[in-house]
Structure formats: structure tokens, C-alpha cells
């Protein structure tokens, strides 16, 4: 546990001493800020139009702004997560520092958990940026915080899964770009798998669409904690980290 913390602190240092963390945070802040501004403007214009027409369809900040925005955020992260994870192991393999870790009295799993957790912390920092935008909603309106918190929990779980997949793919190569590209490809596939269920209802299609990470996020976005989805994410994270551990072990036997 102590070793995990040591490695996690070192990884966070690497993210925040180099420009990586700030670049990612800024990029995400700008992109998400634009999404937020767009959603808010649409909401306000729609509200004014309705007032002018004298209609009174109930409008809800949670349903009309927060929920779609959290879904958007989960898609933006598909693009950013490879940038977080691609260096995790590939860089150590290229520079030879993996030899330091592997010859220290530290378990592989401690190294992996430390690195994964550091990536998760950086990811959580990015999530906090979205909260900055939502603060305005709390100043000028009265959104319900509970479904929002559930949405964040969902984002955190989904991020954890993608990060675990990214960590695994990063152990496969010395080349960060290859690691990043692989992660990107897998993330995108896991996103679009759900389309299959739109035109096919055979068993395989059900299985494939079940694998789609995004469908499991819907319930969280609605503010519902569904144990089925929580278990999906947790088992996915476990599988990803397990594969990472096996891959690290095999490095020694293959090399």
C-alpha cells in the first residue's frame, strides 16, 4: 500500500511538473466550456421563446442542461483518455526506468495500482473543471445536486475503466504513439458498439451492445445508480488491471 502511494505521488508529480496535466486541463476546460455555453444559450433562448408564445412547458435544468452535458463530457473523454494513459508504461519501457521499478522490492500490482490511481486523480481534476461551469447554474438557478452527483460517479467509473484499458495497452509497446492510438481505437469501438442493437436483435448483437461502455452510462446520467451498470464498470476495471498485471509479468518471460 505504501509503495502504491509512493508510485502514485511520483506519477502525479510527472503529470503536474510537465505541461501534460495543464495542457489536458486547459483543452478540456475550453472544449467543455464551449459545450456548456452552447447548452445554456439554447436553454435560455428556448425559455424566452416559450414565454413569448405564452406556453408553459415545464423546463428542468437537470434534464435539459446537466444530463446532456455529462453525456457529452463522457464522449470528450474518449478522446482525452489515451493522452493520459499512453505514457504510463510505454515511457518507462523506452527510457529503461522500468528496470528500476522491476528490480525494486515492489509488487507489480502495487506499481500498476499506483499508476492507474494517479491517472484517475488527473481525470478527476478534469471532472472538477466541469463543476466550475455548473457553479453558475447553482448561482442563478436551483438544480437538484443528487442526480448530478450520480452522474459524476458514473463518469468516474467510466473513466476508471478507460484508464485501465489504456494502462494495459501501454504495457504492450515502447512507443507512446502506438499505445495512444490503440487506446483511442478501443475506446471508440467500445462507444459505437451500441449501434449494433439498432438493427440486429440476435444474441451476439445483444452481447456486443452490452459491451458498449456508453450505454451503461445512461442510467447514471439520468441520476439512477443501477447495480448492473456499477458491476459492469467495476468488473471492467478489474479486468483491465488484471490484464495489465499479466502483461507486465509476461514482459520478463518474453523480452
Amino acid at each position: 500500500m505504501r509503495n502504491t502511494w509512493t508510485i502514485c505521488r511520483k506519477e502525479l508529480g510527472s503529470y503536474f511538473v510537465s505541461p501534460i496535466a495543464y495542457l489536458l486541463l486547459t483543452m478540456f476546460g475550453v472544449v467543455f466550456g464551449f459545450f456548456f455555453w452552447n447548452a445554456l444559450r439554447y436553454f435560455v433562448v428556448a425559455g424566452i421563446e416559450m414565454q413569448m408564445r405564452g406556453e408553459s412547458v415545464p423546463m428542468n435544468i437537470n434534464e435539459d442542461i446537466i444530463r446532456p452535458l455529462l453525456s457529452n463530457a463522457s464522449v470528450i473523454f474518449l478522446f482525452l483518455i489515451p493522452l493520459i494513459t499512453m505514457r504510463l508504461f510505454a515511457e518507462e519501457k523506452r527510457s529503461g526506468t522500468i528496470e528500476l521499478l522491476a528490480t525494486s522490492p515492489v509488487r507489480d500490482i502495487e506499481i500498476i495500482l499506483g499508476k492507474w490511481f494517479a491517472a484517475l486523480v488527473l481525470y478527476a481534476c478534469m471532472l472538477l473543471f466541469t463543476a466550475l461551469d455548473f457553479v453558475f447554474l447553482f448561482i442563478y438557478g436551483k438544480p437538484d445536486w443528487k442526480p448530478m452527483a450520480v452522474g459524476y460517479l458514473g463518469l468516474l467509473l467510466q473513466g476508471g475503466l478507460f484508464l485501465a484499458i489504456g494502462a494495459f495497452l501501454s504495457t504492450l509497446t515502447k512507443n507512446q504513439i502506438i499505445a495512444g492510438a490503440l487506446t483511442f481505437g478501443v475506446c471508440i469501438l467500445l462507444w459505437v458498439f451500441e449501434w449494433v442493437s439498432g438493427y440486429e436483435s440476435a444474441t451476439w448483437a445483444t452481447v456486443v451492445s452490452y459491451l458498449s461502455v456508453i450505454t451503461h452510462f445512461d442510467s447514471f446520467a439520468r441520476g439512477v445508480i443501477d447495480s448492473k451498470d456499477v458491476i459492469f464498470y467495476l468488473s471492467g476495471i478489474f479486468l483491465g488491471l488484471f490484464a495489465t498485471a499479466r502483461s507486465m509479468e509476461s514482459l520478463r518471460w518474453r523480452s
Binding site: K10, G13, S14, E99, L100, T103, R252
Partner: protein, 338 residues
């Protein structure tokens, strides 16, 4: 302290290390010597538990590298060929990080970090980022991280590779000064390094153990043999190489006569005596009595370099002669400057 038995490491297609056995006593400095690609790094990686052996056993301080890797790792300090540094970390932060990984904490950690900073002469760069350090400093930080937890065994893979002559001397002195407290294995393909720093040599070539002995014994092994270079010229102009060679071979105690070159009327021979025989006087007399001139006669002592070439076989020599590529020459010049 270290015992290696019948150690073999096979990669997919090649056998990098082939049934090597040796042992190292506590407190010794051992030079691990061999041409590039001989299997030095692989052996070291097995000893540090980075790679598992394909067959055979290796134990460090009584712990097997396969069965109890964590116990072995606690007792080993390892400097790989390229120091494992994180360029974005400051020297002191890096040493603290490694110290924690090796199990140090609290006041003990502070004390050891201060100690290695002083011991390796890197106090003046302790706040600098590792990526900004010069090669010499990087190497010293690498050594510092290897000794931070005061390990019983130090394994150093080519610790002086790529350094300039001044840095090489500094690094060697540093390694020598560490010898008392630690058992050290250091690999190198540079011979003088072994002569200067090590007590014991293990020579490997193409994955096989060629010799293991103390430096002194290795030199003594050939000391009884006298190697003499002599130049002979004919009085009245004409001498036949074969005739002279035959005459020299007649001298008692001579083991081998090699005709080296013939230039104008001067012939050069290299003569090797049998063990324990002194032949210089007899050679001179033989030449003069046969009516030739003796232009030169000098001892061609065998250096460790020649022993090495002899032991690693003529193949290594041939290889060197065939590929006189620029890279190869650069390496030899590096050897000479060192």
C-alpha cells in the same frame, strides 16, 4: 554472497547465456568482462530478478532469484547500462523516490539521501532536473540510487560507458571506495577498467564462461612464459626466413617461433618460450653464432588485453579485423584513452 550454477538464458532464437557457473565472495569487486553481446547484461538482469533464468540457479545472499525475488531485490543495488532516471524529476526528489521504493522512510531516508548526495559528489546538483544533467552527473546519480538502501550487493552494468577520461577516473575511484562495504559486480568491455578496479575477473564470450580467476593469477598464468620479439639481419645481405626460423626453433626452451615480417633485409620473429624457461640469452647467442646480426631483442610482455584475446579465442580477433568499421575504431580509441 553470489552463487550462479549452470545458469542458462534463452531468448526466442538465441541462447544469450549458456550454462555459466561462478561465485563471488563477500566484499569482493568482480569484473565481468566480455566483448559486446557476450551475455553480460543478461546475466546481470537475471541476478537482479529482472529476467527469470531459463535453466540453472542463481542465489544472492542465500536467496534464490526465482523463489524469493523480493528478498533478493532488497539486498541488491542495480545500475543498468543507461541510468534509470526520470528527466522531469529533481535529483533529490528522485533519490527520495528510489529510497522509498527500496523500503526506507522517515529519518533513515533523510539520512541516506544526504549520505549518497555527499558520497557521489552530487550535492551541487540536488535541486536540478535530471534531464538537464551532464552525462557524468547522470552516471553518478545512477550510482547514488543504486547504493541508497545500503545494499549488500551492487551490480553495475558498464558504469563508465560513454564518459570522458576524467569522469571515468572519478567513477572508478568512487566504485573502489565502495568496495569495502559492498560486494560489487561490474561489467565492462574495457580491459584497463578491470586491471584498475577489480580483484577478480569473470570472462565470458558468446554466452559461455571462458575464465574466472583473480586478476593477479590471470597475469601470473602467462608470466612464466617469455615472449620475445627479435629482429635479425644477414651480414652479407641474404638470409632465408625459413633457415633462421629453423635455427631459432632449435634453441632449447623455445615453444613457438612466428615469422612476423620481412622488411628489406631485416626479419622479425616473435618467440614464445615454454613455461618457466628463460630463452633470451640463448636466442642472442644462437643468432650471433650463426653469423647473422641481432638488431633488436626485446620482451613482449603479455598484457591482460592479450590474455583476454587469447581466452576469448581467435574468433574475436578475426571479427575485429574483418569489420574495421568506424564504430569499431571509435571504440578502440576510447579504450586507449581510458
Amino acid at each position: 554472497m553470489i552463487a550462479v550454477k549452470e545458469l542458462t538464458k534463452r531468448y526466442a532464437r538465441t541462447t544469450a547465456v549458456d550454462r555459466i557457473s561462478f561465485s563471488v565472495e563477500k566484499g569482493q569487486i568482480v569484473g565481468f568482462l566480455g566483448p559486446n553481446g557476450a551475455g553480460k547484461t543478461t546475466t546481470m538482469r537475471v541476478l537482479t530478478c529482472f529476467l527469470p533464468p531459463s535453466a540453472g540457479t542463481a542465489t544472492v545472499a542465500g536467496f534464490d532469484v526465482l523463489a524469493q525475488p523480493r528478498e533478493v531485490k532488497k539486498r541488491i543495488g542495480y545500475l543498468p547500462e543507461t541510468p534509470p532516471l526520470y528527466p522531469e524529476m529533481a535529483t533529490v526528489d528522485y533519490l527520495r523516490f528510489v529510497g522509498k521504493l527500496k523500503g526506507l522512510s522517515g529519518a533513515e531516508l533523510d539520512k541516506r539521501v544526504d549520505y549518497v548526495l555527499g558520497r557521489c559528489f552530487i550535492s551541487d546538483v540536488k535541486q536540478k532536473l535530471l534531464g538537464k544533467l551532464s552525462k557524468g552527473y547522470r552516471q553518478r546519480v545512477g550510482l547514488a540510487q543504486a547504493i541508497i538502501h545500503n545494499p549488500e550487493v551492487l551490480i553495475l552494468d558498464e558504469p563508465t560507458a560513454g564518459l570522458d577520461p576524467k569522469q571515468i577516473n572519478e567513477t572508478r575511484d568512487l566504485i573502489k571506495s565502495l568496495a569495502g562495504d559492498h560486494t560489487i559486480i561490474l561489467s565492462t568491455h574495457i580491459l584497463p577498467e578491470v586491471e584498475h578496479t577489480c580483484e577478480q575477473v569473470i570472462i565470458i564470450n558468446k554466452g559461455k564462461l571462458v575464465a574466472t580467476d583473480s586478476v593477479r593469477n590471470l597475469e601470473a598464468r602467462t608470466r612464466g612464459v617469455e615472449a620475445v620479439l627479435l629482429e635479425v639481419a644477414g651480414r652479407d645481405g641474404v638470409v632465408d626466413t625459413a633457415v633462421v626460423q629453423h635455427r631459432l626453433e632449435q634453441v632449447s626452451g623455445v615453444a613457438q617461433v612466428i615469422a612476423k615480417e620481412t622488411k628489406d633485409l631485416r626479419l622479425t620473429f616473435e618467440v614464445q618460450s615454454q613455461k618457466g624457461q628463460l630463452v633470451r640469452g640463448d636466442l642472442a647467442r644462437a643468432v650471433v653464432e650463426s653469423g647473422w646480426d641481432l638488431n633488436e631483442l626485446r620482451a613482449a610482455g603479455m598484457s591482460l588485453e592479450e590474455i583476454f584475446l587469447e581466452l576469448t579465442g581467435s574468433e574475436a580477433v578475426k571479427d575485429k579485423e574483418i569489420e574495421k568499421a568506424p564504430a569499431e575504431e571509435k571504440e578502440t580509441s576510447q579504450e586507449q584513452t581510458s
